[in-house]
Symmetry: C2
Subunit: 345 residues, 2 copies
Amino acid sequence: MTDTAPRPTLEAVAARAGVSRATVSRVVNGGDGVRDILVERVRKAVEELGYVPNQAARSLVTRRHDAIAVVVAEPETRVFADPFFALQLRGISKELTAHDNQLVLLLTEGRDDHTRVGRYLAGGHVDGALVFSLHLDDPLPQLIQRAGVPTVFGGRPGWSGDRRGVLYVDSDNRGGARDAVRHLAGLGRTRIAHITGALDQTSAVDRLDGYRDVMVDADPRLIAEADFTPAGGERAMRELLGRCPDLDAVFAANDLTAAGALRVLREAGRRVPDDVAVIGFDDMLPVAEQTDPPLTTVRQDIEEMGRLMARLLLRGLDRGAPQEGVGGAPSSVVLPTTLVRRASA
Amino acid sequence: MTDTAPRPTLEAVAARAGVSRATVSRVVNGGDGVRDILVERVRKAVEELGYVPNQAARSLVTRRHDAIAVVVAEPETRVFADPFFALQLRGISKELTAHDNQLVLLLTEGRDDHTRVGRYLAGGHVDGALVFSLHLDDPLPQLIQRAGVPTVFGGRPGWSGDRRGVLYVDSDNRGGARDAVRHLAGLGRTRIAHITGALDQTSAVDRLDGYRDVMVDADPRLIAEADFTPAGGERAMRELLGRCPDLDAVFAANDLTAAGALRVLREAGRRVPDDVAVIGFDDMLPVAEQTDPPLTTVRQDIEEMGRLMARLLLRGLDRGAPQEGVGGAPSSVVLPTTLVRRASA
DNA sequence: TTGAAAGCGCTAACAA
DNA sequence: TTGTTAGCGCTTTCAA
């Protein structure tokens, strides 16, 4: 682990190029209003000295950091058990990189961490924040709001407070759920059950709402609560089978849950999709393609969600891509979902 | 998206507490050599004003950033198809947080990104780097080495260059593979096949070496090359079945591959574990527990790897936990693995 | 034990 | 078009 050699400063470059610091600064920041000959000379000096601007010094005066915090508030391990998180991150990273912004990752584990994150955000280290916090009772969103940092949420935040100016990017969970249930109905199924996700998350609530939109007069016993996990799916499926042995279809809140349900159905001797059709949500490939039979599911474009979050934030900061289409303030985005047909329904 | 209110400076705190800036600075940084009465006064002023130090100004003079870059160089999407990455990140984040360091995430996509990352690292934005780069031909490690940033690698880096002072944290891939194959042999299996991982990654090479350690005179036709994916596992398993119909066990380079193999075996009418015993690697729960039958596999403690990487780096920077045990320079770490028995072997 | 003062490396008025 | 100069907010000698 070598020590870093002392890096050349603007001063050094200026000396070498035979110009003032101001001129070097101008060239380094785009070179507008500087004669071509000088631009050339400065560029050469920069090159020769291997000059890289000191970001701390720059931030001190510009009050910009070109850095965005990504806050992942996930007390549970669920986020880490599926590629969801990584995919969003990738989308975010791509967009930030394209606009020369750094990504500062803040993972929080429980309440104690909240104050730490709040302090950090309030500390003006970053220009904005992208926040994943999908739990209804989570204090984090408000905390961040108070820190006065421009923020975009991943998924509709489930707070009851002031919603004005709250920006988020979400999938059309409700619409996707409707599509899934309609597809099952189109298959001629009439006893369509739903296994919910963790109902303290807006995505789970929205998917349940979508189910209800279609199954207006659904037998309430056809709904079983779970938590997005395979184990939860198994438990819920057993419950359902006990309560409603005549069910002929299941819409599960996500693929993991559907995988659990599939296993229980097989154990119970029900054939899928002949006896019971099953649909999941997410289109999490390693799961959806590996189940037996492969899972029909509702796909959401996770990476695109990430990219959009970053774009929205950057735009709000007056950087990033110029507004496409009509101008005006950026607003929340809800991305469409698509039904992916495989063998299970 | 509200604008940030102008934050109070040291100056303001000093004025309010009726002391000099220097004194406030001392208090904020631990308060050594300042009378208790003054410490008290300053703390109060800090509190009342909601003062948070400006990190840019501080870095400018201290040349410290309390920030560590995590570089994930993964041209393929594989990293994102399993929770491996997220778990390491979690371990890293925990350790960094415990020592008040920020995590700057740099995701690279292909070669073009390398120069960007190199520039960033050389730019002195961070105090050190944790790098995941497991491909044999990857230029990134050398690039980083040249940038002169203290670095710890995740997984043994597969370069042929100067290895002096290269620090890494890895699992005992070779030992774990040996355990797996020995376990199969202990089950009385004699025709034990191996499906490799992507052989441009050291982990795959090491696991293959472990297999060979035990199967000294193995029929070379018992080895089929794959790439850590389920599809690769299927392909390799078909190959193997064609070449060596008499095989009675398979050690797959990871769980995903094993899952693919399992499916092909079932299609081929081979019972697992009765006809063919199968072992994977990773203990990736959502996969290993969901396969049919559940997968016997070699577990590595991913999160701990991440934590250790961070600890090693921090220690090299003379921060972090005081050296446990004997002193001296930190050195690379290879973590043990454990065999987890389930139904497949 | 405290304060005064000199920068850290850069940008951004303002003059020239 | 270029240079001069005054800070940005902080830490850190050096004196007192």
